[in-house]
Amino acid sequence: MIAWLSTYNAALGMPPVSVITTIFGAFCASFALIVCWPKLVQNFGAIGGFMAAAFLVGTFWLLNHKLPGFGIAPEGIPHPDGGSKQFGLIYQAYRGACPWVDMGIAIASGFWLDSLLGTKKGERAAAAKESVPRALFALAGGIFGGAVTGLVGWTGANLFGY
């Protein structure tokens, strides 16, 4: 089983077992948020949104994204047979040293598809077309914000030895 689960590493670019865990983790986060978040907001108003942020995002962050890379053991915890151990369900390639893949993309695509399926059949293409520029501007904003945040390591400041 273990041998089979790591047979196609090179072809897939990731261990097959990580394909399973990543898809399942993304499915869980997306499903639970879509079903629960609007209902919590409907029942509790804005407070429900904060509850959802704490309970849903906090919990699914723990399920999907806890990682030995940040603070615990920056080099990762090595497997006896090479590679490093993953703790979160969503696989971070290159031992977590490549750019971060966030479960946000799963949640956003799930919300998008859910609202697309909730649209009447004849209006779906127009609705999808209408959403493209909004999605692109939101994505461009995220890329801009993330890139600027990434720049802080390039200031050359030497604060407290870090």
Partner: protein
Amino acid sequence: MGKKGWESRRSRHVSTFIGGAIVGSLAFGIWPEMWKSYGILGGFFAAVAVIGIMWYMNHWLGVIENRPGTLWIDQGLPIAGAGVAWGIVRSYPNSHWEQIFPTLICCVIGGLLGGWAAHHVKKIAPGWRQSDQDQEAAS
């Protein structure tokens, strides 16, 4: 089209851009530091602080444009974009950005499956059915 000021399409796009930029910056400026400093509870606190207040701004107050009847653009999208951009810029030129695609594709597949399943489950789940009947009774 034709409307001026903050009602215009362009202004709404600027608003969406700003909301995405702030949520992306906050998520990756704060979350890793909280995780490093306080571990799992730090991550929970970051979820409340970042996602809670940014949800309030982007989706409750509507900084990211989502008018009724249109498809939902979630703030997860800018957060995901920010995660990749943050990683690329932070460890440039050794970011190994081409390694992310298998995970990214699996994430999108899982997310779409979740959205599809949620759409169908909401049709039969009693809590969602009840609210639909209430709305029909009210209208």
